[in-house]
Symmetry: C2
Subunit: 290 residues, 2 copies
Amino acid sequence: MTLPGMAKAIPCLALDIGGTKAEVAMVSREGLVLRRDRLDVQRAGVHLFDEIAGLLARVRADDEVSALGVACAGPMLAGGVSVSPLNIPVWRDFALRDHLERATGLPVGIEGDVRALALAEGTFGAARGVKSYASMVVSTGVGGALVLDGRLVNGDSGNAGHLGHLNVVPDGRLCSCGSRGCLEAEASGWAIAEMTGQSPEFVDESVRRRTATLVGRAIGTLAAVLDFNHCYVAGSVALGYGDDFFAIANSSAREVATLSYVRDLVVERSGLRADGPILGAACVAWRTVS
Amino acid sequence: MTLPGMAKAIPCLALDIGGTKAEVAMVSREGLVLRRDRLDVQRAGVHLFDEIAGLLARVRADDEVSALGVACAGPMLAGGVSVSPLNIPVWRDFALRDHLERATGLPVGIEGDVRALALAEGTFGAARGVKSYASMVVSTGVGGALVLDGRLVNGDSGNAGHLGHLNVVPDGRLCSCGSRGCLEAEASGWAIAEMTGQSPEFVDESVRRRTATLVGRAIGTLAAVLDFNHCYVAGSVALGYGDDFFAIANSSAREVATLSYVRDLVVERSGLRADGPILGAACVAWRTVS
């Protein structure tokens, strides 16, 4: 029997869908991964949904679960009503939520991957107890999410937090979005590779410094406008560049965030480890039934 | 007798405090100004608070009111616990809310003037029914406020929405905040006067075009990051420059806001008229007792 409030105490199912792998886990309310399994997205091909449904059933076994939470690469329509992940060409305007609800009989919540990560940062990561913050991933692309006044900001279509498309170099390099000078066009892994012809880990000091400076500028100006003092950064480029990246990003952020209410602004590492993405999906599940 | 829910139907007291005048009004829930009066802030000098208290008592008369809402120039601490309006030197860290609660015996809500205006835009202006939007005032300075997912965003200290401090020209002109290239340092009335030695209404076409272009750039990049499609602009500079300003600001905003979810982005005139500020204060009152 399920007593009122018990739904919150029982585990959830979490599904993290990326371009290369899809992972499913049973996650306890305390953030413990109780069971997990994964599959190769590209190898599944046109059978991807059926394989995911099978994976969900196997990981769930006969256990009671409260809900299914999904973190998925974008773009998508708000709530995952339809998804079109760039790296999964077999899914275009794919009605993921309907399919999952039918396959599992569970309440299903779906979020963009970086937005789900921001929820996990607040629940299990470095942002515990912080009401307003930005989450950012600087890797091949630049993604982000904003939690303001304790809520993940959605915007008109659930796309709020695209920090990669903040303009940081007026009339700068052409971005894949069609604009010029977006942070993603100037300071992401692909931008670095395009500019230098080299993989981001092999570029010289000046490129690293420029990347961190632009990331810091974006964070600083957003902090001044949105009144937050914490930004948590993950992603292979930022983490790969290490302490220097964070020192430069902090000093660059401070140069533009000069108002009294952002004097405590800190650009810091995400507190989530390898389980971040699956914990993000779990947070989406819990939000769905809360 | 006050039945449950009746508090919402009875009028509120609204107080708008600017650098030159303070105005008090009784406002109906429908946004009708039932009675009003004002005083000269500079002439009141050190007696400002006592004169405001007297004005409140006169306008209220013996009528029942639900709450007092205040729109006040900043800076202030969240909720108006203390205010230090730049143009009112006799108030520095002045405990406005405490003083008003004691003087009136009413529930008191206090907001920054542009943030209050944003609430009025949503209730009585052009943003009725719009869940996510920006409000902006381009006059001597550049102020703003953000309503996202139906809520006025506060941030850590109630200062969210300072659109004037978005960086639009990296390493640009020095701003009063200490940073460089803020929108306020490049496209406000005082910036125009500093750059040209002329009052904003007398400057030539190229300065007007540059002002509108930078305002549009700021709105476009924020729309891409925050996922909103409406920005309402008021203020003597923007409104004074007329249709040309809005045409240029729209095309400049579109250049940076190219993602699919902001394809309906429109920069338009505020729908509030001269009563906007006092209606803003009234919205703060209603929010306080809702």
